[in-house]
């Protein structure tokens, strides 16, 4: 059997721009156009353009169902605002991490990970009744990320919407380059910027208009390679790497995404886990030599295996190598030293505070 990865409406644009393509979450996506280093720098210093159409979108009309499946209190979310939250199973394991949008005409939009889109949809439907309205709309929409210190100015030049009034984790509807969009001040890079949702038919027009208008900002199309090195510096977890259905949100350091004073699926198990005490927690660490930690490498301390690296790479911005790993709570304090088993050698590493990188505050 040959499983064909789906193409986004921007596939031909990526090919034309000379992208190296890769399969991710059931989609064929650009990995890089030039080099990951250059695309990473463009986002930190100027602006980068991402095709994020592989992300899934679910429309959920039922408030009480939303309240049951999402880890945060969605009823407190005002229309036009967004929260980062989790979907958990009965055991408190993380099924997915999602963005919840409170839509003005009722209900919620959930932006979910590409590879989980259909399983999330099935799971949410199964928690509701026959009449529950849940729509799997991800394949009807294109999502484009415009990220970097010059992103807000760039998008503002292409829209009449007053973006100064769109706070971080808020959204408005408007047109960008005459294309009707949901303009969302969110991202996965650690920089300011927007994620723009539009209909598939408008995708190429929007993409080209952003590249054209962004020329004066030094815009670069950026692929999943840079997206991964950027999110790692920003300390953002990657579902499937840093957490999965066997990870408790408390272990993943995502306590702040939980409203334990309301009922949601997994809440009781999470409270029990907290009472019993955690056996491992996610930490950030930096390498003290030049070795590169990778997903799956073991951590060692006094000859004992103490944990596992979940993400690791070079930090282009900081100039050293960084990673995230699960360790026993006793070894989680910043300044703690341990080894990363890199091909049989214990390479020295030190626990540091997450995130590794925080963007400078605007003046």
């Amino acid at each position: 059997m040959v499983v064909t990865a789906a193409r986004t409406p921007l596939y031909e644009e990526h090919v034309r721009l000379g992208a190296q393509m890769t399969n991710f979450g059931g989609w064929v996506m650009p990995l890089q156009y030039s080099t990951i280093r250059e695309e990473h720098r463009a986002v930190r210093e100027g602006v980068g353009l991402f095709d994020l159409s592989h992300m899934g979108e679910l429309r959920l009309m039922d408030e009480s169902l939303g309240q049951r499946v999402v880890s945060r209190d969605v009823t407190r979310l005002k229309p036009g605002r967004i929260q980062y939250a989790l979907l958990c199973n009965e055991k408190g394991g993380i099924i997915d991490d999602v963005l919840v949008y409170a839509v003005a005409d009722g209900g919620y939009l959930l932006v979910v990970n590409a590879g989980n889109q259909d399983s999330d949809f099935d799971w949410i439907k199964a928690q509701g009744t026959q009449s529950t309205k849940v729509l799997n709309v991800g394949r009807d929409w294109t999502l484009v990320g415009v990220q970097g210190p010059r992103a807000v100015g760039l998008v503002q030049r292409l829209t009449t919407a007053d973006l100064g009034n769109v706070k971080y984790y808020a959204f408005v509807e408007g047109t960008v380059a005459d294309v009707p969009c949901v303009i969302s001040r969110t991202g996965y890079t650690g920089e300011d910027g927007f994620e723009l949702f539009c209909g598939n038919a408008d995708a190429v027009g929007l993409w080209r208009a952003l590249l054209e208008e962004g020329k004066s900002d030094g815009i670069r199309p950026a692929g999943l390679g840079a997206r991964d090195t950027l999110r790692l510096e920003a300390g953002m977890r990657l579902y499937g790497n840093d957490m999965d259905a066997n990870t408790n949100p408390l272990e993943a350091g995502l306590d702040w995404t939980l409203n334990l004073d309301k009922d949601f699926i997994g809440r009781d198990a999470i409270i029990r886990a907290r009472e019993q005490g955690l056996s491992r927690v996610l930490v950030g660490f930096k390498m003290l030599d030049r070795s590169i930690p990778r997903h799956g490498y073991s951590l060692v301390n006094d000859g004992q295996r103490i944990g596992t690296v979940t993400s690791g790479n070079v930090s282009f911005t900081l100039g050293y190598n960084i990673g995230m790993a699960y360790v026993p709570p006793a070894l989680a304090e910043p300044g703690t030293h341990f080894g990363v088993d890199v091909r049989g050698t214990a390479a020295p590493a030190e626990v540091v505070q997450l995130p590794f990188y925080k963007r400078p505050h605007p003046k």
Binding site: Q20, L31, Q32, T35, I36, R37, G225, T229, R290, S291, I292, R294, N313, V314, R343
Partner: protein
């Protein structure tokens, strides 16, 4: 630009340029383009004996860590120390300043490909 016609290539994408009993080893243009941004190399000690096809070290790019193999047997006489601070030379100039090691007492390896055969091999790989 290096003279590629006098080089020999391994199917594991290393090149070797012989000069009498000594030889220089690096990775091909195709290899560097597939690896992407090279960020670290783990290289052998000077004096180490390598057999043809033996692992000589590890090359790490942003994407992954990959093994490097010696296309010919010989004794390591030099490693490219510049790569410690400038691993990107492997991307920028794989046949020039991105060379990786030098060997002496080199033994021939009849399994290596000339440029034409290597290009055909790469062409076959990418389809």
């Amino acid at each position: 630009m290096a003279d590629l016609t006098s080089m020999r290539f391994a199917e594991t994408h290393e090149w070797v340029m012989k000069d009498g009993e000594t030889a220089t080893v690096g990775i091909s243009e195709y290899a560097q383009s597939q690896l992407g941004d090279v960020i670290y190399l783990e290289l052998p000690a000077v004096g180490q004996q390598l057999d043809a096809g033996a692992r000589l070290g590890v090359i790490e790019s942003v994407k992954a860590a990959s093994d490097l193999y010696s296309p010919v047997g010989g004794e390591v006489t030099e490693v490219n120390g510049e790569l410690k601070d400038h691993p990107e030379y492997v991307n920028q100039d794989p046949y020039g300043k991105g060379w990786i090691i030098k060997l002496r007492a080199v033994k021939d390896n009849p399994k290596l490909l000339d440029q034409k055969a290597y290009d055909a091999f790469v062409e076959g790989q990418s389809h």
